[in-house]
């Protein structure tokens, strides 16, 4: 059965341990005599990587623009909520708290309808909450979004009910206010942190090569949420020609952008060639557009003359860039899963610590997965 081939199994490189290594660097097929029949490594076909007619072994994700938009709006909402709470506690000005509470609710309201629209059977949306199953990031996310939306509404209701002069408030009013603040801070802040970051963890908990097991997606989405929250509040304050607290917001935005850049670098280093759809595939436009947009936003803040319109432009570019980034990451899923080379690479046997020899360079925009 076995046919002589001049080279020993070429799709595994030499073992880093040297010599015969772990036993996976094998003899040529002709002299191939496995020690353990049931776990013996298979062999390839000459110098060509084994494959099944270039059909991917994975199914493409079914998530579309609704999910990308939800990831963005959920991040804006969570970021604005966190900053509003911090502004109230540590003094960023009353307006930051008020505007932040409004932005948090405004961005949270479309989230549930977007998620429901994306379902295969939308009238069963409530099945998401029929079990408590935190080991599923999506179930945890559904519960988080539900509870968080409640606290966001509570925070906005409080801002709405608070009068201008708090010294005239009766005793029971102060007690009630303390209780509400306890809920919006002790429950709302952890929920907002989870809402900001779980979406990245969810993507990393899939077999889709561009996302699978990538530990940087969570930090990336968390940092992006804070920066978009700051940008949204900043934009609303500028619109209302209220400058107080804006300098702190710009500092937060810059810090979050730095964290985002670090997480993005980490993502690209970890995904490497599996980031192909983002770096030079079908999502290269949104992806590099997002990177450029965020960079220009930072440049405007620090280099442009100080002025209301420059500042608003910086905020808009920051928001647009973050949306494009979420868009690119969500839409990179289908081309990544449909790429047979990427699917094979993501599920290669890492114990052989090596590379398949034939990992083709970009065939076309959607099937590209060579190293960036």
């Amino acid at each position: 059965m076995a046919v002589e081939s001049p080279e020993p199994r070429t799709f595994f490189p030499p073992s880093p341990l040297g010599g015969e290594g772990l036993g996976v660097r094998g003899p040529s097929p002709a002299e191939f005599t496995p020690l353990n029949p049931s776990s013996s490594p298979p062999r390839g076909e000459g110098d060509k990587a084994p494959s099944y007619y270039d059909v991917s072994m994975l199914k493409p994700p079914v998530w579309g623009w609704e999910i990308a938009t939800y990831f963005f709006l959920g991040g804006v909402s969570a970021g604005a909520y966190l900053l509003a709470r911090m502004a109230e506690r540590f003094g960023g000005g009353r307006e930051v708290t008020r505007v932040g509470a409004a932005v948090a609710v405004g961005a949270a309201v479309p989230c549930a309808p977007l998620l429901i629209k994306d379902l295969g059977d939308p009238k069963r949306f409530h099945h998401m909450l029929r079990v408590w199953k935190p080991q599923s990031p999506m179930n945890l996310g559904a519960w988080t979004l539900t509870a968080y939306t409640g606290t966001a509404f509570l925070a906005l209701l409080r801002e709405w009910l608070r009068g201008a002069d708090e010294s005239e408030r009766p005793e029971w009013g102060r007690v009630a206010d303390g209780l509400v603040v306890a809920v919006t801070d002790a429950a709302g802040v952890p929920l907002a942190l989870l809402l900001a970051g779980y979406t990245g963890v969810l993507l990393s908990a899939t077999a889709t090569p561009a996302w699978a097991k990538n530990p940087w997606l969570g930090p990336l989405f968390s940092a992006s949420a804070i920066s978009t929250g700051a940008a949204a509040i900043s934009l609303a304050l500028e619109w209302r020609k209220d400058g107080r607290g804006r300098e702190a917001l710009e500092g937060i935005d810059t810090a979050a952008h730095l964290a985002e850049a670090a997480a993005l670098t980490g993502y690209l280093a970890a995904a490497w060639r599996l980031a192909g759809p983002l770096t030079h595939g079908s999502q290269a436009g949104p992806f590099w557009g997002a990177v450029a947009s965020l960079a220009v936003s930072e440049a405007l803040k620090h280099l442009a003359p100080r002025g209301r319109w420059w500042s608003m432009a910086a905020s808009v570019l920051g928001l647009a860039g973050s949306y494009a980034l979420r868009w690119a990451f969500v839409h990179a899923g289908p081309p990544s899963a449909n790429d047979p080379d990427a699917a094979r690479w993501a599920s290669r046997d890492r114990r052989s610590a090596g590379e398949m020899v034939e990992f083709r360079t970009a065939k076309d925009a959607d099937h590209s997965s060579s190293s960036p």
Binding site: V55, L82, F90, P122, H127, S136
Partner: protein
């Protein structure tokens, strides 16, 4: 829509008692599964047809893939058995690699873990089962499966896959595909017995000179322990469109959550610091 189906939906969604994971097996501690011996497969596709007929799955239309005699292409919501048919030039000779692919019914299955509605569970036979009246078509399991088994139906919007003939097992019958297989390439039975039989089969093939025969999924493969559907292969798993080392992407989520939450928390603390500094400077 009349209100009655909606009420039915709601009562379905909240059953009186929810049991997360029943003990696998039928109480005897024996989980049944598939052993697919590709050296016996003749590519007749009787398993595909039997599966479609028994489970009343719709046709997938007439497609011409150009992939030798495989016009099914892959497993899907309406195809729960798929016969891969690889024509492989091996030097001067042409080999046919045929394998009837199916859901692996993994222990620690990523589809089970990812399912946010609890629609996917381990049934009393120890098999991974999608409850069609619970699934709301979120699509998470489709992306979670490293074997590309699950699909979302265009008809009802729900995810579907092999049930390991849940209804037939309830009646003590073997699954339709195993029953229909004319060469006993697909064998169904208690896993320990199948493992024993499969190892004997590999030894026999090696003794007869087919030294490239090995078992895929009988022992640990990738992030998984043994798979409940395992295979005897004679070439690299990728030739059969199986992953070399299937990942379980929902393992070790703790550090990933921690990284996400710590990033958010650190920036939040920094914002508190910046707000306080801004106030002190009166800006």
């Amino acid at each position: 829509m009349t209100p009655l189906p909606l009420i039915e939906e709601w009562t379905n969604a909240f059953p009186p008692r929810y049991r997360p994971v029943p003990t696998p097996g039928d109480g005897s501690g024996r989980v049944r599964g598939f052993f697919t011996d590709t050296t016996l497969c003749i590519g007749c596709k009787a398993c595909e047809v039997a599966c479609k007929q028994w489970n009343q799955l719709p046709a997938d239309g007439f497609a011409f893939t150009g992939h030798s005699y495989d016009n099914t292409r892959s497993l899907s919501a309406t195809t729960w058995r798929h016969v891969t048919f690889k024509e492989k030039a091996d030097g001067e000779r042409l080999r046919w690699l045929m394998m009837s692919d199916v859901c692996k019914h993994c222990h620690d299955a990523p589809c089970y873990q990812s399912c946010p509605t609890g629609a996917i569970l381990y049934n009393e036979h120890g098999d991974v089962y999608v409850q069609p009246d619970i699934c709301n078509g979120c699509g998470y399991c489709i992306s979670a499966c490293p074997f590309g088994v699950l699909g979302r139906s265009e008809d009802d919007g729900h995810a579907h896959k092999c049930t390991l003939c849940y209804d037939r097992q309830n009646d003590g019958l073997e699954p339709a595909c195993a029953k229909a297989c004319p060469t006993a390439s697909i064998q169904f039975g208690p896993l320990e017995e199948l493992h024993e039989w499969a190892r004997k089969r590999v030894e026999e093939l090696h003794a007869r000179g087919q030294t490239d025969a090995y078992l895929y999924g009988a022992d640990s493969v990738g992030d998984y322990g043994s798979l409940n559907s395992f295979f005897l292969l004679t070439d690299h798993p990728n030739e059969y469109n199986l992953p070399e080392a299937p990942p379980q992407p929902l393992r070790q989520l703790g550090p990933r959550y921690a990284a996400a939450l710590l990033t958010g928390a650190a920036l939040t603390v920094l914002s508190a610091f910046l707000f306080r500094r801004g106030e002190r400077h009166g800006r």
